[in-house]
């Protein structure tokens, strides 16, 4: 249940693109055609699903304050968390390189269709962001970290698929010249983000903070509940 909750939450509510603006550069650059968008989206799901659990292990057994306990009692005070950026990015760069080699070996056609997008993933902030959010939100188990990685990947995939489909259609519309291309894409993304915010009411029990609040204050009508979640979001953003 916990896993399903985190899964849905990372796809819809904490969507990488619409809630935290991660991976926007490749999202804007690669979303002109549905085909390429699908390729990149699949690669992002794959890389996130591998790197988030790997970085979770790194964080748990190497970087956290006191993580080196398994080496012996005298290492228990060590805090290497300042190294996490460099360790995470090293893992990601290595994994991307590995994935590239494996894909080239076993499926040259997929490799050709992805082209430069594979190495680009190494500098996609959604990937590093996934690991950093995993660290800052203190996800407790390896299983949950995997679910979080896959879920955020699927969320990103959905976002880029949707915008690519809209951009293919909007080519036939009469957009003001100065707004064509990038400008209108930004505005559509904003509208989609507003749409995705309404998913915030989907899992009111998912957030621990909301849960605690609900225990103290009884909320009867559904509308009021949604309002509260929205108010919570505002607080987070400030």
């Amino acid at each position: 249940m916990e896993h399903l909750e985190l899964f849905l939450k990372s796809i819809f509510i904490d969507n990488m693109v619409f809630a935290t603006f991660l991976g926007m550069c490749s999202y804007l650059a690669v979303s002109k055609k549905v085909n390429t968008a699908v390729g990149l989206g699949a690669a992002v799901i794959f890389v996130l699903a591998i790197t988030v659990p790997l970085n979770w292990l790194l964080d748990q057994y190497l970087l956290q304050p006191g993580a080196l306990k398994w080496l012996g009692a005298e290492y228990a005070d060590y805090d290497l968390s300042f190294l996490s950026f460099i360790m995470f990015i090293a893992t990601i760069a290595t994994m991307v390189q590995l994935v590239e080699i494996v894909v080239e070996k076993f499926s040259p056609s997929l490799y050709n269709s992805l082209g430069i997008f594979l190495p680009l993933i190494a500098v996609n902030c959604a990937i590093l962001g996934g690991s950093l959010f995993m660290q800052s939100r203190e996800i407790p188990t390896l299983g949950l970290a995997t679910v979080y990685g896959v879920g955020s990947g699927i969320g990103w995939f959905l976002a880029i698929l949707a915008i690519a489909a809209i951009r293919e259609k909007i080519r036939y519309s009469n957009v003001p010249p100065a707004l064509r291309g990038l400008g209108i894409t930004f505005i559509i993304t904003g509208l989609m983000a507003i749409g995705f915010m309404s998913f915030g009411g989907m899992l009111t029990g998912g957030d621990e903070a909301v849960k605690q609040e609900e225990k103290t204050v009884k909320v009867d009508s559904k509308v009021e509940k949604e309002d509260k979640v929205l108010a919570n979001n505002i607080k987070d953003n400030e």
Partner: protein, 214 residues
């Protein structure tokens, strides 16, 4: 004698307008949008990126002849990550509250595509001084957009600028609030950052028709 030759000063002025990293090159957008609800956070982010980009450009430019081209991405990532760790530690030491607001987005400077883009496109082919100027110019272009977005979002969203109440007090109904003005809380939410950038792009491209895409 001018401090900078004409060619050098172009390195700084170009990215500010017609070759802006965010609105024209479409780089480094992720962090630009997420932290702009407050003007102060935008300025700190812009300064951090400027420091990392200028110093990183110089370092890469000094090493450009000894980096094997096959592993250059990893070398670049390591240089950026090291610089970002320094910035992050400085922020935590001197401005802990702000570093909490920025949260993971300081770390995400590492994957800010402006930085990789400038390393690849400029520092690997130019000397240290010109790379330094290029770094400053591009980071300034990025910072300019951040400050504009941060300015409008904070002014319209909470009626303050850098924390000062410029439009009057919303609770005691002074200033603009006395004649019925209300804060637009929507500006503080993430979708409005996208809208504001979209509008900036719109304004920029209607002023310079050469930039219009087809």
């Amino acid at each position: 004698m001018a401090l900078l030759s004409k060619k050098d000063s172009k390195l700084i002025t170009d990215p500010l307008a017609d070759n802006n990293p965010i609105t024209i090159q479409v780089l480094g957008i992720c962090s630009a949008l997420a932290i702009t609800a407050q003007l102060k956070a935008s300025i700190v982010m812009a300064v951090s990126v400027m420091a990392v980009l200028a110093i990183g450009n110089v370092v890469i430019s000094l090493m450009r002849n000894i980096i094997p081209s096959k592993i250059r991405i990893i070398v670049q990532l390591v240089v950026v990550a090291a610089l970002v760790i320094i910035v992050d530690q400085i922020l935590k030491a001197y401005s802990y509250e702000l570093s909490k607001t920025l949260s993971v987005f300081v770390g995400l400077i590492i994957t800010n595509c402006i930085i990789m883009g400038r390393f690849e496109a400029f520092a690997l082919a130019n000397g240290p001084w010109r790379s330094f100027l290029d770094g400053i110019g591009n980071a300034a272009g990025y910072g300019l957009i951040l400050v504009i977005v941060g300015f409008f979002r904070e002014l319209l969203g909470s009626g303050t600028l850098l924390g000062f109440k410029v439009l009057g007090d919303p609770i005691e109904k002074t200033g603009l609030y006395a004649i019925g003005y209300e804060n637009n809380g929507f500006m503080l939410l993430s979708p409005m950052a996208l809208m504001v950038v979209g509008i900036i792009i719109w304004v920029q491209r209607s002023r310079n028709k050469a930039l219009i895409e087809d």
